[in-house]
């Protein structure tokens, strides 16, 4: 039998108007069930991708892809930085090194309120080379850059002065008290949205000199950020640089033991949690698809029962059982195909609307980001569709076997 004929028979039976169109109705309901399942799974993957993509994108924008530091928190010296620069130059794909300081401090503004902040001191010329901050700031800052939430809390805007103080440079008075007498005033050059609430509510970036003076760390660094060219795998490059650093330490080329890690690896637990959440939600939404598949199976059983006489007639006309099986299986595939097409189209429409017209807004203090984009992944979508088509085929096997198992003589009995 030609595939076209087989498909034609399957389509005609599914769209049959006989018996008040009940077969057609259950066919449409089956397609709808599959479509809902497909749309739910495709949208879930897209929104989870969007959430992860936003967070990793914003994290990546404000941070270098690789970080070199001492595992025990010892400050790095200029000689260490020079060594890192030398070794990084020998690793394929690594671009520049930008050393910096990052420590907790207290900030005060015009509102009279004070806030705990993280002050990061960087060499702007290098930092803009290895991070995405250049795009965010639109030039080399000539003052402090701070997140919009902390700026709002301190009543600061561009041109105001933020005062920073730190216990790192405290001195002990004659009375034995710690005295914080280093208060650094610095002009706010830009208040910006880093995209992540964690940064918006507590990050202040200054030039290296200001931070070094604040923390009493002239000539010392907490870390060295390392840039990577596009297409370079940060994890592999970090491992290679780490090995070089380890060899240098063993070979007495440097005094301090340093390691290099990919910035995202520092947030591995966060992304693992996302993966777990994705898996849990996929299982829950997958249950919708299971219900749809059960519905498909019962609908196809009904179609087989409704058309048992037709199957007997087909057998009488010379169709082999495998061909009748083919008709029944292709009905399942057809419903699956239409359901997948409708579900994917609906999901695409929802993504289009969410990304362009009606964005999903989130409470950024809870979810880190304030909007949730949909980022479809063709591989994931293909996996969802392939899984559901396979499940449709599986759900069709029992009804198809039913259709074939009835002896043809039984099918054409007129009693």
């Amino acid at each position: 039998m030609r595939p076209g004929l087989l498909l034609g028979l399957a389509i005609r039976q599914l769209t049959s108007r006989s018996h008040s169109g009940i077969v057609r109705l259950v066919s449409v309901l089956s397609v709808s069930g599959i479509a809902i399942g497909v749309a739910a799974l495709v949208l879930l993957q897209a929104f989870m991708n969007g959430f992860q993509w936003s967070i990793s994108g914003f994290l990546g924008m404000a941070n270098p892809p690789l970080i070199v530091r001492s595992p025990v928190g010892v400050s790095l010296q200029q000689t260490d930085i020079a060594l890192v620069e030398k070794l990084a130059a020998s690793v394929h794909g690594l671009t520049a090194v930008s050393p910096g300081i990052e420590k907790a401090a207290v900030a005060a503004g015009r509102s009279g309120d004070i806030a705990g902040v993280v002050v990061r001191g960087v060499r702007w010329d290098r930092e803009l080379e290895i991070t995405g901050l250049g795009e965010l700031l639109g030039g080399v800052p000539e003052g402090a850059v701070l997140g919009e939430t902390v700026a709002s809390r301190l009543g600061l805007s561009r041109g105001d002065t933020i005062r920073l103080a730190s216990t790192e440079s405290a001195t002990i008075s004659a009375a034995g008290r710690a005295v914080v007498d280093t208060i650094i005033p610095i002009v706010v050059w830009k208040v910006c949205d880093f995209g992540l609430e964690e940064y918006n509510s507590g990050l202040v970036i200054t030039d290296y000199g200001t931070a070094a003076a604040l923390f009493g760390m002239e000539g010392l660094y907490d870390f060295a950020g390392v840039g990577a060219a596009e297409g370079t795998g940060p994890a592999a490059a970090a491992a290679e640089l780490s090995a070089l650093l380890e060899n240098s330490y063993i070979g007495f080329e440097c005094e301090r033991f340093m390691i290099c890690e990919a910035f995202m690896a520092r947030h591995e637990n966060l992304f693992r949690a996302f993966g777990l959440e994705r898996l849990g939600m996929t299982i829950v939404l997958g249950l919708i698809t299971v219900v749809a598949l059960l519905n498909l199976s019962s609908a196809l059983s009904m179609v087989a029962l409704e058309h048992r006489r037709d199957y007997g007639v087909l057998r009488a006309m010379g169709a082999s059982p495998s061909r009748v099986l083919g008709v029944a299986l292709s009905q399942g595939l057809l419903i699956g195909l239409l359901g997948c097409a409708a579900g994917t189209a609906f999901a695409a429409l929802v993504m289009l609307v969410v990304n362009n017209l009606l964005p999903v807004t989130l409470e950024s203090s809870v979810y880190w980001v304030d909007t949730l984009p949909a980022v479809p992944d063709p591989g994931q979508t293909a996996a969802v569709l392939a899984g559901i088509m396979s499940a449709c085929l599986l759900a069709s096997v029992f009804p198809a076997a039913q259709a074939v198992s009835i002896p043809p003589a039984e099918c054409v009995r007129h009693e």
Partner: protein, 227 residues
């Protein structure tokens, strides 16, 4: 090579149905030969086993024992695929209630056996058109079975049985569901088609008109065929 003269050979066919503890023996050693172009009528009261016999002869239902040969092939010794080919190439069926596929037009119903046998769409459509013309319902070709009369449906069913030019057409009460006028038309068609196409017909019937036109009338009594 000359084609065999006998298209159907049936020997010692037995069939029983079990209902609970009791066994109802319907066929008790049926012998039947049908020659090419012959019209054989099988009569008998309701429940005598006419339909069961036709299903066995049509390779739709296996006998408990005995042999059924179609065009020289022992049908029940062949595999399922070979039996399907036998039905497709050598047999045609006409059922009492036409059993046309409701979702297909009359033309499509008649073309279907040809498509199943591997004819091209164009050839099958031409064959269907010619057969519908021959049975006198060419004007109804595009209609669905639910839109035509009982007589027209049965004529379409007859045309469908002839699509692949089978050696033997098995018809179970082909006029049983028709009024006298339509029954007569269908019967005339059976005779004329048998004469023009050389097909053999085995007709299970109560109808006296059919027995009048048959070359041979056999009575199924006590599970055996009698002349």
């Amino acid at each position: 090579m000359n084609e065999p003269c006998t298209v159907l050979e049936c020997r010692e066919v037995r069939k029983a149905f079990r209902e609970g503890d009791s066994v109802l023996e319907i066929l008790r050693g049926v012998d039947l030969d049908v020659a090419r172009g012959e019209i054989v009528a099988v009569t008998g009261p309701s429940g005598s086993g006419k339909s069961t016999l036709l299903n066995i002869l049509g390779v739709l239902d296996p006998p408990d024992s005995g042999r059924v040969s179609i065009a020289g092939v022992d049908a029940w010794k062949a595999g399922e695929a070979a039996r399907a080919r036998l039905r497709g190439r050598h047999l045609g069926f006409v059922f009492q209630f036409h059993h046309l596929l409701e979702e297909f037009t009359l033309a499509e119903n008649v073309a279907l056996p040809g498509l199943l046998a591997g004819m091209s769409g164009e050839d099958a459509a031409k064959r269907a058109a010619a057969l519908l013309e021959e049975v006198g319902i060419a004007s109804r070709a595009a209609q669905f079975p639910s839109r035509v009369s009982g007589g027209e449906r049965q004529r379409a069913a007859l045309a469908r049985a002839l699509t692949c030019s089978p050696d033997l057409v098995l018809a179970d009460e082909p006029t049983g569901n028709l009024d006298a006028g339509n029954a007569s038309k269908v019967l005339d068609l059976v005779v004329s088609l048998s004469r023009s196409h050389g097909q053999a017909f085995v007709l299970a019937t109560h109808s006296l008109e059919i027995t009048a036109v048959a070359d041979r009338v056999l009575r199924l009594r006590g599970g055996r065929l009698e002349t």
